[in-house]
């Protein structure tokens, strides 16, 4: 028997001000899958992600989660289903890292936003998992960009949502934390069944972590496939307008040096 898709994008057009940038996006994902969007700068990866999260209204088509259109969901319902990590820089005033992580519990809190013990524990768990417990009482603005990024990741994790949408989560992270992010996402998808949808610039990470890769180029979906399909042959070279074989030769260098 065919398993029903948990997450589905059907005939979606994404863009700004009613003008579609990318049209006719279709994909079906099972629960717990990791989908990565790759492609050149400015291709429209963020636009697609923003349309999925509801930051941008969809111009045509729909996003379905567990068979329900996100357009039919209330704001609160959508917020507790999808956790996000955005590229925009966060500026805070007198907020500790714990405060920032705890905002991830927003959809669960009462009328005044007061945290329950369960909320506090979830925030502590997320900080421990992200390895930032020692930063908990530091002022967010005193952190390095990489530390901030890890705090924002912990914030998304604290939300304990079924879907995680991450826009370039590896920005500001060095290789150690990039790999750590990779194992965190793997753990979330396998243990908790979290469906991950993200954009990545690091192709070697995309190849290792993804179940499915969606390639965006020239404002359209250029290709969708498994990592082995996408990274075989010279497809990556054409995606990034490189001379055929360039990407593979880079990787070969990595092996032999």
């Amino acid at each position: 028997m065919q398993e029903k898709p948990y997450f589905e994008i059907s005939g979606l057009s994404a863009g700004y001000g009613g003008k579609p940038l990318i049209e006719d996006i279709n994909i079906k994902l099972k629960k717990g899958r990791i989908l990565t969007l790759i492609g050149p700068n400015g291709a429209g990866k963020s636009t697609v992600l923003k349309t999925i999260t509801g930051h941008l209204p969809s111009i045509a088509g729909s996003v379905y989660i567990a068979g329900r259109s996100t357009a039919a969901m209330s704001r609160k319902e959508l917020a507790s289903t999808i956790a996000v990590l955005l590229t925009e820089r966060v500026k805070t005033d007198m907020m500790t890292c714990r405060d920032v992580v705890e905002t991830g519990r927003y959809p669960y809190t009462d009328l005044l936003g007061i945290l329950s013990n369960e909320d506090r524990h979830a925030a502590e768990r997320a900080m421990a998992a992200a390895g930032i417990s020692d930063l908990a009482d530091r002022d967010f603005m005193t952190l390095s960009d990489g530390q901030k990024q890890r705090v924002m990741l912990a914030r998304a994790e604290a939300q304990e949502s079924d879907i995680l949408v991450l826009d370039e989560p590896t920005s500001y992270l060095d290789i150690k934390y990039q790999l750590e992010l990779l194992s965190t996402l793997r753990r979330l998808s396998s243990e908790r069944g979290t469906t991950v949808i993200m954009s990545l610039h690091e192709l070697f990470l995309a190849e290792r972590i993804s179940d499915i890769i969606m390639c965006i180029k020239d404002r359209r979906i250029d290709n969708i496939g498994t990592p082995s399909e996408i990274f075989s042959g010279t497809y990556i070279d054409s995606l990034y307008d490189l001379a055929p074989g360039t990407y593979r030769s880079l990787r070969a260098d990595q092996v032999y040096f």
Binding site: T53, G54, H55, S74, R75, K76, L78, A79, S80, I82, A83, V84, L86, E88, V90, K91, T92, D93, M94, M95, R98, D99, V100, T103, Y106, P107, T109, L111, L112, G113, I114, D137
Partner: protein, 341 residues
């Protein structure tokens, strides 16, 4: 510096106790001290025993109590309005006075006063607040237009100061050309003062401020989401458009109420939320909203007391005193943030 979450909660409770105590002290001082000094023991016996003579009762219930209540209520309203504006613009230097919102309210109130005076009518409290609210909203609208194009926080403030200057110039113009003896009163009011408040005024401002502040407190949750920026707030399920409208209306209402009764009062809106943030070391709105109100009340009670006693029988305008204590705080805030986006 205290670190853990538990210590922080203790700090908040301690600060609330301290501020409440200060409020009681300044409230009592404001009733007792003046051209006729009433020792606390005498005040208590007037209140609870013999009722005092009629002149003492007049001083307390017709002059000092309404004025003290005005300083308490309007001070809190001003500080809270400043906090909401700082949140709205993500700008620690925002406040109803610097952004020209008080001046806009002053302009519309002056226009209405002059028009009504020329027809030998006077305005009631509700009319004053409505006029001030319209002026506040109009200026708020201009500042919001500017904030769409201006991202630097200092430039936005300069823009607001300019809007304030324009409004003040027009007000001066109107006051100069409207010849009427009552214009002297208008002039006094336009300098900012809590004097001349009646118990009827105090009751109206109490109702307006209480409702607005309660609404602000009920917005604590979306405000806390908004602290991380609009996009994140949206991802947490906040209806940004509705939220922004609510914030504009509440902050304009609070500052309009102040301007309607006391004229424009400077620096309370910027300085007090900064001091409170520093004291409490948090930006959680559930804590900040009551704390800012409390802080603003204390600050204005203190400043009003100085304004009327320092050079008695002459009286300083309230803005003169609030500027002396508020402006250094603003400078400190700017020095604390050398890097600006």
């Amino acid at each position: 510096m205290m670190s853990s979450a538990e210590n922080r909660r203790k700090r908040w409770i301690l600060c609330f106790i301290l501020l409440s105590a200060l409020l009681v002290v300044f409230f009592a001082a404001s009733i007792c001290i003046g051209s006729v000094n009433l020792p606390l023991s005498r005040l208590l016996s007037i209140l609870f025993k013999d009722g005092g003579d009629s002149s003492e009762r007049d001083i307390i219930f017709a002059l000092r109590l309404p004025r003290t209540l005005a300083a308490l209520i309007l001070g809190g309203a001003l500080s809270l309005s400043g906090y909401l504006l700082q949140t709205f613009f993500h700008n620690p230097l925002a406040g109803p006075f610097v952004l020209g919102i008080s001046s806009g309210a002053k302009l519309t109130v002056a226009v209405c006063m002059v028009i009504l005076l020329s027809r030998s009518a006077t305005m009631n409290s509700a009319g004053m607040i409505t006029a001030a609210f319209a002026g506040s909203l109009a200026c708020m609208f201009f500042v919001m237009l500017a904030s769409r194009r201006i991202k630097r926080m200092s430039m936005l403030v300069i823009c607001g100061v300019m809007i304030g200057y324009i409004c003040n110039a027009v007000t001066e113009f109107i006051v100069t050309f409207a010849d009427d003896s009552d214009i002297v009163n208008l002039h006094n009011w336009s300098q900012g003062s809590f004097s001349g408040t009646t118990m009827e005024n105090a009751a109206v401002m109490a109702v307006v401020t209480a409702v607005s502040s309660l609404c602000a407190f009920l917005l604590s949750k979306p405000i806390s989401a908004y602290l991380l920026g609009e996009s994140y707030a949206e991802s947490m399920g906040v209806n940004i458009k509705l939220f922004r409208i609510a914030l504009v209306i509440i902050s304009s209402m609070l500052s309009a109420c102040v301007t309607a009764f006391a004229g424009p009062v400077s620096f309370v809106g910027i300085a007090v939320p900064q001091i409170i943030r520093f004291l409490y070391r948090t930006s959680k709105p559930v804590v900040m909203i009551p704390a800012c109100f409390l802080g603003g009340s204390i600050f204005c009670l203190f400043c009003d007391l100085l304004a009327r006693t320092m050079f008695a029988p002459a009286e300083l305008s309230i803005s003169t005193v609030t500027a002396v204590f508020g402006a250094p705080v603003v400078i400190a805030v700017m020095l604390r943030r050398p890097e600006e986006r």
